[in-house]
């Protein structure tokens, strides 16, 4: 009887200790510190909303918040548009290449985001592949600025998110039944009409989940926006990084983190409402 009690505790303690030291403690400390303030490099233990007031009363930080939200929303839309055909193909295909294709689509997920972003830096740069090709065709005389702009971040982040979006879409395609589409077609519906009236509504749950996952991952991503934005595209994640490691205002960085988590929470709440409507 004693062994039955001690064995689970013995097995769970190591993982529990790591979770406590590396997760629960830091998160609690972060929330607490967001209520303190730093003054001239000195930490003042305080319990006040100073940092939050500063964030929401400064146009610069409100701009950062707004930019983060719309970049993440834009990436979610673009990534769904780009991944939907691929997911549909993977779902329907009976070809023997399907497995190879699936690995090609998903494997980039495991390749370091630094490596993939570096690829985009070569493509998007002023003397990069896009500008080089456009210049060769004579379409442009001066390079189109893509690096260090919001557009570059949108393009790169969309590609980075595609494998995740595709997986989320596929997971939501379970209700899609080929016989329903065949029925619509045999009853005389044109292909586009069949898509709009049958395929799209049936895949809507997948689209909503994919939108949520992509939005949440995009708004929390740091590597791609900071490399492709080159410090000129400030988002919440890059603000946290700069305040923590360059300005060394840890309480403010903690407050921005809490705000990012709040954006997460609001998104999840909105998602639940939407999901209920489509049930």
């Amino acid at each position: 009887m004693r062994a039955r009690r001690t064995l689970p505790a013995l097995l769970l303690t190591p993982a529990g200790t790591i979770t406590l030291v590396a997760f629960l403690l830091p998160m609690a400390w972060l929330a607490r510190l967001s209520l303190s303030r730093a003054s001239g490099g000195v930490l003042i233990d305080d319990v006040a909303l100073t940092n939050y007031v500063r964030f929401f009363s400064d146009r610069f930080y409100l701009g950062v918040l707004w930019r983060s939200v719309w970049i993440a929303a834009g990436v979610a839309v673009l990534s769904i548009l780009a991944s939907y055909p691929i997911a549909l193909f993977l779902f329907r295909s009976r070809s023997r290449w399907r497995g190879v294709l699936a690995v090609l689509v998903i494997a980039p997920l495991l390749v370091s985001s630094v490596v993939r972003t570096f690829g985009w830096m070569i493509i998007l740069g002023d003397r990069g592949w896009i500008n080089g090709m456009l210049a060769m065709t004579g379409l442009i005389t001066a390079p189109v600025r893509l690096m260090n702009t919001v557009w570059g971040v949108l393009i790169g982040l969309t590609e980075i998110m595609m494998p995740t979006t595709t997986l989320a879409l596929l997971a939501g395609f379970s209700r899609l039944d080929a016989t329903l589409e065949e029925a619509a077609r045999s009853l005389g519906a044109a292909p586009w009409r069949c898509f709009l009236r049958v395929t799209l509504p049936l895949t809507m749950p997948g689209i909503i989940v994919a939108g949520l996952v992509t939005f949440v991952l995009s708004i929390s991503s740091f590597v791609t926006p900071s490399l492709l934005g080159g410090g000129r595209v400030q988002v919440l994640a890059s603000t946290i990084y700069e305040e923590a490691l360059e300005t060394l205002d840890w309480p403010f960085a903690a407050a921005v983190s809490v705000i990012l988590v709040l954006v997460f929470g609001l998104t999840l709440l909105g998602y639940e409402r939407m999901a209920r409507r489509w049930q």
Binding site: R4, L7, L10, L12, P14, A15, I18, T19, A22, F23, L25, P26, M27, W29, L30, P85, F89, S93, L101, A102, L104, V105, I106, A107, P108, L109, L110, V111, S112, S113, V114, V115, R116, F118, G119, W120, I122, G125, R127, G128, W129, G132, M133, M136, M162, P163, A171, I219, S220, F222, V223, L227, G230, I240, Y241, A244, W250, S257, L260, V261
Partner: protein, 259 residues
């Protein structure tokens, strides 16, 4: 499916693979700066990579760190997953949610939290600090993957062994563990990759004396784009591909990712 649809899928796939293709092509460039079109071809990138002391040191740190973190996560994660799946632990669902919660939060917030606490403990830019920080990410992966594989194992096999008189430890060693092995292998590969590629959390924990390879690359490409980085990227892609094959062979790629 119409040919137009196939063409569309092909174009989108090309977009998805574009950065990897470009990196592969430019790794064989001999230009000092990666502009389009590449002028000279050769192996200068790979030669420069072999001579780069900072990258070599970072590579060593990342490999050792990845192995150590994977070892720790496998032991702690497998034990926790076994307890959750097989022993009737009260509140198992809550525990699982707690263990995997770090995967839901942005790495930048996890990193900042670690920085705040480790600064007080004096663990910044130390091996223990980096290891615990990486475990934060790898442990949830291991628990999830091992749990998935445990749930796929028929518990009646273990009950049969026990009813035939095998002691619990023997049942675990001779029945459960061998059946868990594919899951553990997949978890090990994913955990190593997660640690080896980790950037955001590491950014908060490294220092001039102790830096991982992804951090070296992250700081380098902010200032220059040369074939050396492309060559390094190809090496990293090859390493990833190798580990993906391990995962596919052991547990199946999609299953390991939880879909």
């Amino acid at each position: 499916m119409s040919p137009w649809f196939r063409l569309l899928v092909g174009v989108l796939l090309l977009f998805l693979l574009a950065p990897l293709i470009v990196v592969l092509l430019t790794s064989f460039s001999n230009d000092s700066f990666l502009a389009f079109p590449p002028q000279n071809w050769g192996f200068a990138g790979y030669r420069a990579l072999l001579a780069n002391e900072a990258f070599r040191r970072g590579f060593g740190v990342s490999i050792v760190l990845g192995l150590a973190v994977t070892g720790i996560s496998l032991v702690c994660g497998t034990a926790a997953a076994y307890a959750i799946a097989r022993l009737r632990v009260p509140g198992a669902g809550t525990l699982l949610a707690l263990f995997t919660a770090p995967l839901l939060l942005p790495g930048i917030i996890l990193g900042l939290g670690l920085l705040l606490v480790f600064a007080r403990l004096g663990w910044l830019a130390t091996w223990p600090g980096l290891m615990i920080g990486h475990c934060l990410v790898t442990l949830p992966y291991v628990i999830r993957v091992v749990l998935t594989s445990l749930r796929g194992i028929d518990a009646t096999l273990e009950e049969a062994a026990a009813s035939l008189g095998a002691a619990p430890v023997r049942v675990f060693r001779r029945v459960t563990l061998p059946l868990m092995l594919p899951g553990i292998t997949a978890a090990a590969a994913l955990s190593f990759l997660a640690s080896f590629d980790e950037v955001v959390i590491s950014l908060f924990l490294v220092g001039p004396r102790l830096t991982t390879l992804p951090i070296e690359v992250f700081h380098t490409i902010q200032y220059r784009a040369d074939p050396q980085i492309s060559a390094l990227s190809v090496v990293l892609i090859a390493l990833t591909a190798g580990l993906v094959v391990v995962v596919e062979r052991s547990l199946g790629f999609l299953r390991a990712l939880g879909r």
